[in-house]
């Protein structure tokens, strides 16, 4: 009986030792020399694996940083300048400074502004609804509200606001990875420059129809009248296809344009209330 136990232990020990010896030499032979800096860089990245940098994940981005030799085209929007500076110091390179960005849904067509004229009862995703028809309201450019952006967001930065018709992006949680930008079939979401205290002045509309048609579909649609463009001293506003657009890189937040907009299509968000037109401002905030 005891002999059997001894034989068993001896056999297993011999197999184990010989396997260890073989593996030792195999490991020597096929050793992969990986740059240790890849691990270091990966360590400081946010490990969100969101793909906002354009790579498959944080590891792939770290590899690209080390291999590339310069950081010109590489930027982690989640970590921002701080993370990129740390990455640069690890690699001994120069980091590119970029303005932080934040996503914004350029549609303010909530139920009270944009009446529904039909009812869609198919599969509730924006991608399918937009392939079937232009949407439940008469505006063919506006938000469908089924939340493909909400599903795409890994950071809980989108409030679906069910029943309101248009989701809301929470500025403090948004990391500008751009997942929602790709998910929106109506191309409504834009990554805009992030100003202090999340202030922004923005045209919340994408309707390219002529003024009358746009206004009929939605009470707060941009009608392309051009009043804001005349008001702007910084050439930040362009009008194309009956639609105004404010370039966030040129905008100085002077707040001259929102009061002249006849349809309240230009939103000013997170500002202290205006002194003179206090009532109007409050109305705008609730309508947001």
């Amino acid at each position: 009986m005891s002999i059997t136990v001894i034989y068993t232990i001896a056999t297993l020990s011999v197999i184990g030792t010989s396997a260890a010896v073989i593996l030792f030499f195999v490991a020597q032979k096929f050793k992969v020399n990986e740059d240790p800096r890849i691990d270091q860089v990966e360590e400081v990245l946010p490990s969100a694996n969101c793909g906002g940098c354009g790579f498959a994940g944080c590891r792939a981005f770290a590899e690209a940083c080390v291999k590339n030799g310069e950081l010109a085209d590489l930027y982690c929007p989640v970590g921002g300048n701080e993370t990129m500076n740390t990455v640069a110091s690890i690699l001994g390179l120069e980091a590119v400074k970029k303005d932080p960005r934040v996503a914004f849904i350029r549609c303010n067509g909530t139920c009270d502004h944009r009446p529904k004229t039909s009812h869609f009862d198919g599969a509730t995703t924006c991608a399918i609804a937009s392939s079937v028809y232009s949407g439940e309201s008469d505006c063919q450019y506006g938000c469908l509200g089924y939340g493909d952006c909400y599903d795409a967001c890994d950071f809980d930065a989108i409030d679906l606001r069910e029943g309101m018709g248009v989701p809301l992006i929470l500025d403090d949680k948004c990391v500008a990875c751009g997942a929602c930008v790709d998910a929106c079939p109506k191309d409504l979401i834009e990554l805009r420059k992030k100003f202090p205290k999340d202030r922004k002045v923005v045209v919340a509309c994408r309707n390219e129809d002529k003024g009358g048609v746009a206004r009929k579909a939605c009470s707060t649609a941009c009608i392309g009248c051009g009043k804001c463009q005349k008001e702007c001293k910084f050439d930040a506003i362009t009008i194309e296809n009956n639609l105004a657009y404010i370039d966030s890189d040129k905008c100085k937040l002077c707040r001259k344009c929102p009061p002249v907009c006849p349809t309240n299509a230009i939103l000013e968000l997170n500002f202290p209330p205006r002194k003179i037109k206090k009532e109007e401002k409050e109305e705008c905030n609730t309508a947001k």
């Binding site: 004229t117 039909s118 009862d121 198919g122 599969a123 995703t125 991608a127 399918i128 392939s131 079937v132 028809y133 232009s134 063919q140």
Partner: protein, 443 residues
């Protein structure tokens, strides 16, 4: 002997309410909106502008490439504007608005009702006339007919199949046309045979239309090479590939065209349009449309000018019932719900179906119970439950490998699903995405 296709298929209630209603001519509308994209392929380019006077049959938009067709005015009057308006795709599309004044036709059109049986022109000329008349497949797919009649190099058509199946429930426009214009259709078939240079044509008709089968079988005795093939009732037998399988027993290879098995398929409506174009010089500017539904007071078949708004059709059939839930352009299986009654009748509109609220409501869907009914009814032998999940999870490379592009969008899977899952919605979405990926790879 009755034939049918082998794989899958369903039997939805037929509900052919308007089968014994003669084709009536719809009174002229006051204004029309004629979209310039009524066919598969490149949209036509408008050749008229605001204020122009047009006559019935005049070209108002010229085809811009080979796979495209001319668009003709269906009325006479003044062009109000060339602008965008919603069509049955649900999106605003470019088109010509015309205010109707009188009913003046261009001189070339022979307006007599007499049957013109004799013809003496060669195939190339027939194809040219078809191309100029703007004829597209009137079964619903609206593929330009002249493109079909020119087989790709190295391929030869052996048989012409004429689609008189009309497997969609409710619709009866093809059925009525076969009963009332049988001789015209047969001459149209002869013209198509000449254009294709084939000796044999088979008209496939499902045996729920015994009067059409009997009438055409008698008439074909006088026409050489044309046969009538009665078919068992099964949806989607009117699908091109299913009809070929049912009649010839041959299977079109995955991703291939019918011409790969030597067949060309045309609808009976198309054959009639070909007759009118070649023998009467009449371009395609009107078609037969069924207007039907359980709540509709007078389900009917109308001969309608292209561009007439749906609301006029609905009025002529007794008005919109109060309990209406959805108005569908096409049949209940493959049609599309329209969001506005201003949507015009186009070359592809075979019917307008008005569904009651309780019929049209879609139930909330629940989990897949793996019963595999969708697999057993799919006429293309696909796995709809799998394709839906792959599309939902956006795994498009696997969807492509599982032949999502072979889906003919017949809706049998969604129809049969006991969990009411929106299988076709997702598959169609996946098909669109895979198509995009394939096209971008080719570039």
């Amino acid at each position: 002997m009755l034939k049918t296709f082998k794989l899958g298929g369903v039997h939805p209630p037929e509900n052919k309410l308007s089968a014994d209603k003669e084709i009536q001519v719809l009174p002229l509308p006051k204004s029309v909106f004629i979209p310039v994209a009524q066919h598969i392929g490149a949209p036509a380019t408008p050749t008229v502008k605001r204020g122009d006077e047009v006559k019935v049959g005049q070209v108002i938009a010229k085809s811009s490439s080979f796979v495209s067709t001319n668009i003709h005015s269906s009325v006479s009057g003044k062009v109000k504007k060339v602008d965008f308006s919603e069509d049955s795709s649900g999106y605003p599309k470019q088109g010509v608005f015309i205010d109707v004044a009188g009913d003046e036709w261009i001189d070339e059109i022979d307006r007599s009702e007499e049957l013109a049986r004799e013809f003496d022109i060669d195939g190339a000329e027939i194809i040219k006339k078809i191309q100029e008349a703007g004829i597209v497949g009137l079964g619903g797919a609206t593929f330009p007919t002249h493109v079909k009649l020119v087989p790709p190099k190295g391929m030869k058509a052996e048989v012409l199949l004429i689609n008189g199946v009309e497997c969609e429930p409710y619709l009866t426009s093809d059925h009525r046309l076969m009963l009332e214009k049988a001789d015209e259709i047969l001459v149209g078939i002869q013209l198509l045979m000449k254009a294709l240079n084939v000796e044999k044509a088979v008209i496939g008709i499902e045996n729920n239309k015994p009067n059409a089968i009997q009438l055409l079988s008698e008439k074909t005795k006088n026409y050489k090479g044309i046969l009538v093939q009665p078919l068992k009732v099964k949806y989607p037998q009117g699908g091109e590939k299913q009809l070929i399988k049912a009649v010839t027993g041959k299977e079109v290879p995955s991703g291939g065209l019918p011409i790969a098995v030597g067949a060309v398929v045309s609808n009976v409506g198309t054959a009639f349009a070909v007759y009118e174009a070649v023998q009467k010089n009449k371009p395609l500017f009107e078609r037969v449309v069924t207007i039907t539904g359980k709540g509709v007071s007078q389900p009917s078949n109308f001969k309608v000018r292209i561009g007439t708004s749906t609301s006029e059709l609905v009025e002529s059939a007794g008005g919109l019932p109060e309990s209406t839930g959805k108005v569908i352009s096409g049949g209940p299986m493959m049609g599309r719900a329209i969001a506005s009654l201003e949507v015009p009748v186009t070359k592809g509109t075979s019917g307008i179906l008005i569904m009651k609220e309780e019929e049209s409501k879609r139930k909330d869907y629940i989990a897949c119970i793996r019963c595999s009914r969708c697999v057993s009814v799919c006429p293309m032998g696909l796995e709809p439950y799998l394709l839906m999940t792959l599309s939902q999870k956006q795994i498009f490379d696997r969807a492509e490998n599982d032949r999502v592009m072979d889906c003919i969008e017949c809706g049998s899977c969604s129809y049969t699903c006991p969990s009411d899952r929106p299988l076709l919605d997702y598959i169609r979405f996946g098909k669109g995405k895979v198509g995009q990926i394939i096209r971008s790879k080719k570039k």
